[in-house]
């Protein structure tokens, strides 16, 4: 490092002392800031580790095939029974409906922004997509409620209303991630296609979308993972129920996040003295088991999204 040539060793010592002594305060600041930065990272890991740990440990006690395959019908008090089957089905149905609504709109908007987007309309769409990502989930729920109660009257609680609310939250996420993926498609591919006389729409479908299909799938899976855990909009639009319901167009529908909230809100069950089959903490145990189920679903979706990219991403470079 030190390529400085100095005449005498005396001068060397002098310069060395100047270089080191003046720096003590600065070195200390540097070390303190390094520790703070490492500390910030450690501090952020604490809740993550604690949360995952408690979810796994508390959820494992009730997480079994029985819990996943029965509903809450006829379950009351501190009965050691009941499961989340209806909630899992509800979550899947509502999320599927939301995906069916938002994936075409989101994907086509992304195509518009990347392939056609010029001028004030494209700028407005870009800006408001970003703004839409910030809509609070409960406001999306209120919107869907307000929209449907005009036709169906007050008190309408259906799975499809929740799906509309979720799609308001999901569309901007789909647009944003699909847009990023479409931008990655090299222009040379498009130009090669045009040179062969392929019309633009066919180029987009056969070349652009085909090339980026892995990325698009990942983006959509991550968007699904994002909305599958939404609670508040489903709570106010699909209501709560203890029974199984497959039809999003008829009657209330339970979902996994709302199930967690309901079990948590019911709190400690009251047991008579000497009642052996009564567990006071049963509601919390069910809530933790459902939380474990939900976290597992979300993690699986995330994992699937990442694996899809790894397996199917186009080998271009």
């Amino acid at each position: 490092m030190s390529a400085v040539t100095v005449g005498t060793s005396d001068e060397t010592e002098q310069i060395r002392s100047l270089l080191t002594s003046g720096d003590k305060g600065r070195k200390r600041t540097d070390r303190i800031m390094t520790m703070l930065v490492y500390g910030a990272f450690g501090l952020a890991m604490l809740p993550l580790v604690s949360l995952l740990w408690t979810v796994v440990v508390n959820g494992a006690s009730k997480f079994n095939p029985y819990f996943l395959s029965v509903t809450m019908r006829g379950v009351f008090g501190g009965m050691d029974a009941g499961g989340a089957y209806h909630a899992i089905i509800g979550t899947l149905v509502i999320t599927l409906c939301a995906s069916v609504l938002s994936v075409p709109i989101g994907l086509l908007t992304a195509v518009y922004l990347v392939e056609y987007g010029r001028g004030p309309l494209a700028r407005a769409v870009t800006f408001f997509v970003d703004v839409m990502t910030g809509i609070p989930s409960i406001v999306a729920g209120l919107f869907a409620f307000a929209l449907f109660t005009i036709f169906l009257g007050p008190g309408a609680k259906l799975g499809i209303i929740a799906a509309v609310a979720l799609s308001v939250l999901m569309i901007p996420v789909v647009v944003r991630s699909c847009e990023e993926m479409l931008k990655l498609v090299p222009n040379e591919l498009r130009e090669a296609s045009y040179a062969l006389g392929v019309p633009k729409w066919l180029t987009i479908i056969k070349i652009v979308l085909r090339t980026s299909v892995a990325g698009l799938t990942t983006g959509i899976l991550l968007a699904v993972a994002r909305v599958i855990g939404e609670t508040a909009p489903i709570l106010i639009t699909a209501g709560t129920t203890d029974s199984l319901n497959f039809n999003p167009f008829d009657d209330r529908m339970m979902s996994l996040p709302v199930y967690i909230y309901r079990q948590y809100a019911q709190g400690v069950a009251t047991c008579r003295d000497g009642q052996l089959d009564c567990i006071p903490d049963i509601n919390y145990m069910r809530a933790w088991a459902a939380a474990l189920t939900l976290v597992l679903i979300v993690m699986l979706l995330n994992l699937a999204g990442r694996l899809v990219t790894r397996w199917f991403s186009p080998k271009l470079r």
Binding site: M33, V37, A40, Y112, Y116, D130, I135, L142, W201, Y264
Partner: protein, 331 residues
């Protein structure tokens, strides 16, 4: 499809311009353009519809007389007008979000710097993934964890902290032994908004021109001085917009607050006490399932207030990001 005579002149010029830009718009290509453009317009329409329906359904709450509000609006005791109801809710929402932001921003900046400048290159992306994992966890699970694990754990600390703070003159804090206070809720909110602030800050820190960093190091700066003189000034607007995005997230977060906070209604700074404050989102979620008639309109009116606040915060944040994008190309 085309309209009457005046725009006819404009359409006559259009084919020439299209050919100049290299588009061959014939047959289905034109239809496809309409379809995709329609999707974009539909998206704007959805956002407009959200605003329109909220305003339409909130209107009865603003026009209803005081007697109607008291009879059907289910306003809490002592509240006589919609403004008196929305005011404390907005106050509680802003207070909770501001506290969450104050906790989360420095930590998120620390993590972002750790990933961009401190951690070994090989594990940095892995750490980024772990932080993103925090964002993937559903809010209701955060609420469950906050209510069952964090609140009992941190209650003793709040009681102790209040004991220390009350030594100061003119300060009179109350602490609840259950830990179900706004301070606990804010900590959980802070954990929830950490990922987004970290992600955006990390991106701008990574964009710092390498030459600036190397110049600072060549002048003998320590690593921290290099960060302070080169990285932070470059990333300032990015961090501000990241914080505002986090603020928008914290303002609208429902379940964590609903499941942790023991709610009340009022202008109060008793962040360690129970039953003092609440937020708009948590208030809607707790009252909506049982509400009917005018009470629904009142709740939608509070939701409209939340929508306007988050919209303003997000638009400001995005405007800062967009302006920054124009300049950063020069580097």
């Amino acid at each position: 499809m085309t309209t009457a005579s005046p725009p006819a002149h404009a359409t006559r010029h259009e084919p020439r311009r299209r050919r100049a830009s290299g588009d061959t718009e014939r047959g289905f290509s034109r239809v496809f353009r309409w379809i995709t453009t329609g999707a974009g317009v539909l998206l704007l329409g959805v956002l407009a519809a959200v605003a329109a329906f909220l305003v339409a359904r909130a209107l009865p709450a603003f026009t209803a007389s005081q007697a109607e509000l008291l009879a059907d609006g289910k306003l809490p005791a002592g509240v006589t007008s919609i403004a008196q109801y929305v005011g404390p809710l907005v106050f509680g929402t802003l207070l909770a979000a501001a506290m969450a932001l104050a906790i989360a921003t420095p930590i998120a900046m620390g993590i972002a710097l750790f990933i961009s400048h401190y951690a070994p290159r090989r594990i940095a992306s892995g750490i980024g993934y772990v932080v993103d994992l925090l964002a993937a966890i559903p809010s209701v699970v955060f609420g469950l964890w906050g209510g069952r694990v964090l609140a009992p754990l941190i209650a003793d600390f709040w009681v102790w902290l209040v004991g220390v703070l009350n030594v100061l003159p003119f300060v009179e804090f109350r602490a609840t032994a259950t830990g179900r206070s706004l301070a606990t809720a804010s900590i959980v909110l802070a954990v929830m908004i950490l990922p987004i602030i970290t992600a955006v800050s990390r991106e701008v820190f990574l964009q710092t021109p390498k030459l600036h960093e190397e110049a600072a190091l060549a002048l003998g700066a320590t690593r921290w001085e290099m960060i302070r003189t080169a990285v932070l000034p470059f990333g300032r607007s990015g961090v501000i917009s990241a914080a505002m995005l986090g603020l928008g997230r914290a303002l609208g977060e429902t379940m964590a607050v609903l499941m942790i906070l023991s709610t009340g209604l009022g202008y109060s700074l008793q962040i360690f006490g129970a039953g003092e404050l609440t937020t708009i989102a948590a208030n809607i979620a707790s009252r909506f399932p049982e509400a009917s008639g005018l009470a629904v309109n009142v709740l939608i009116a509070t939701g409209l207030a939340l929508f306007i606040i988050t919209l303003a915060v997000n638009m400001a944040a995005r405007a800062i990001v967009a302006r920054r994008k124009d300049f950063s190309g020069a580097n």
